[in-house]
């Protein structure tokens, strides 16, 4: 006997957001790092930043650090980065 059953996953919700427009150039732009606290994240991202400084004219402004990788970034820190950087390198890895 055929039957019908509901799918268990339901719809996806929440507000949609648009990504910021990509930068047309890195020259004279301000580059910051947001270290998410994972082991060696600072090492990896610092090397990336160094490579970008070497290859482009981007200006490195420094590294900030989240309290922990597992919780959202502090709002004040995010606001500070948004105000003082044009590009932020961040990420997560174990």
């Amino acid at each position: 006997m055929s039957i019908q059953v509901f799918a268990p996953d339901g719809a996806v919700g929440g507000e949609t957001r648009e990504l910021a427009a990509p930068l047309d150039t890195l020259a004279e732009r301000r580059l910051a790092i947001l270290d998410n606290g994972k082991p060696n994240a600072d090492v990896l991202m610092q090397r990336m930043a160094n490579a970008l400084v070497e290859r482009t004219a981007v200006q490195y402004t420094g590294m900030s650090r989240k309290q922990t990788a597992a919780t959202p970034c502090d709002a004040e820190l995010l606001a500070n980065l948004a105000q003082n950087a044009d590009l932020v390198i961040t990420g997560s890895a174990d």
């Binding site: 059953v5 268990p8 996953d9 339901g10 719809a11 996806v12 919700g13 929440g14 174990d94």
Partner: protein
């Protein structure tokens, strides 16, 4: 063949329009109603937990809803941002084998898990094996068939097993916390199948756990995201509180827990009734238990420093010298004590994942 008066039979007399799927609910057609067909179809779609499922037919889902508004959104669950409507929760409750009366418990638990302090996104996505433990308190324990006594952690109780499993199915399906997709847990843990117990209020020598949290309700639900329980037993000192709790403190004081680098993290200490009776019989209160464990569950501060490059400690903890004993949690209030289980001199410790807080809420209607 269902008996007259069962939820399925009762649902057949209701308005058929109530059986229509919601705007975003998908109805699948299966060739037959065998468990194997459902399991294979769900496996193809990446659904299920690997165990047999109860088909969530419109009749069963309607019965599970029990007249509640199916379209109400209880929570939006990360990382998928799935909408946990009452209907979606009812679907997963049916899949798990819940009786209809359990839906309010599931709804309360999911709403609690969605609270910001739980950090459900982190709980679901981490490489850690963390799983949400649901604890049912108060009148609902007996009224809804939960087991607070012998074997409360399992196996054997349909309500404990089905409700715990329903929570996991909600996280798998609606939240999208599937191994390798939204759940990066390196090894997982057995409690990711089902993790639900009930507080043994009758056997507790102290006020109920919700009352100790300031919740004044007939029934309540606690969610605590943590590891599998770690047993400790003491049969040597005729119920001496220090002897019992020193073993519990030994379990807590480990570098192998995610609580170790996060000193604000909680530990749930579930005392078996015999241990609780012995401790209270010696004149100890719940607060005494918390304070004693806080004092005894310590390791040299240098051990923590050598083990972890990244820590979240308070300033006073960072000021300790390497040889100073550092408590594994920075305040006695982070040690949450309740009574559950049956006869026998056993208790357990359930460390949290660290970057999460438990929530206790009154049971919804």
């Amino acid at each position: 063949m269902t008996e007259p008066g069962t939820p399925i039979e009762a649902a057949k007399t209701l308005d058929p329009d109530q059986l229509v799927a919601g705007d975003s609910d998908e109805l699948l057609s299966l060739a037959d109603d065998t468990p194997e067909t459902l399991l294979e179809r769900f496996e193809e779609r990446g659904w299920g937990d690997g165990l047999p499922l109860i088909p969530p037919t419109p009749e069963r889902v309607l019965a599970m809803l029990g007249g509640a508004d199916p379209s109400e959104i209880i929570a939006t669950l990360p990382p998928r941002r799935g909408l946990a409507t009452r209907r979606a929760l009812a679907i997963n409750a049916v899949l798990a084998g819940c009786r209809p009366g359990l839906l309010p418990v599931l709804t309360t638990a999911i709403r609690a898990l969605a609270r910001p302090e739980v950090n459900l996104r982190g709980v679901n996505a981490t490489t850690h094996p963390v799983a949400p433990l649901v604890i049912v308190h108060g009148d609902a324990v007996a009224e809804l068939g939960f087991n607070a006594g012998l074997g409360t952690f399992g196996p054997g109780s349909r309500s404990n097993a089905a409700l715990g499993r329903a929570v996991r199915l909600v996280l798998l399906h609606i939240a999208g916390a599937r191994p390798g997709v939204g759940d990066a847990s390196t090894q997982g843990q057995p409690s990711k199948y089902a993790y639900c117990i009930a507080e043994n209020r009758e056997a507790s020598p102290w006020e109920s756990y919700p009352h100790s949290c300031g919740i004044d309700a007939r029934s309540a639900v606690t969610v605590h995201c943590g590891e599998n329980p770690h047993n400790f037993h003491d049969m040597e000192r005729e119920g001496d509180p220090a002897s019992i709790l020193d073993k519990g403190a030994s379990v807590m004081a480990t570098l192998g827990s995610n609580n170790a680098p996060v000193s604000s993290a909680e530990f749930f200490v579930v005392l078996g009734p015999e241990h609780a009776t012995s401790i209270a019989g010696a004149g100890w209160s719940r607060r005494d238990v918390q304070s004693y464990l806080y004092e005894r569950a310590r390791l040299p501060a240098g051990d923590f420093r050598r083990a972890f490059d990244v820590t979240q400690y308070r300033a006073w903890e960072n000021a300790l010298s390497d040889s100073d004993p550092k408590p594994v949690t920075d305040h006695p209030d982070n040690i949450r004590v309740l009574v559950a289980g049956g006869a026998g001199k056993h208790s357990c410790v359930i460390p949290s994942w660290g970057m999460t807080r438990s929530v206790t809420a009154a049971l919804e209607d």
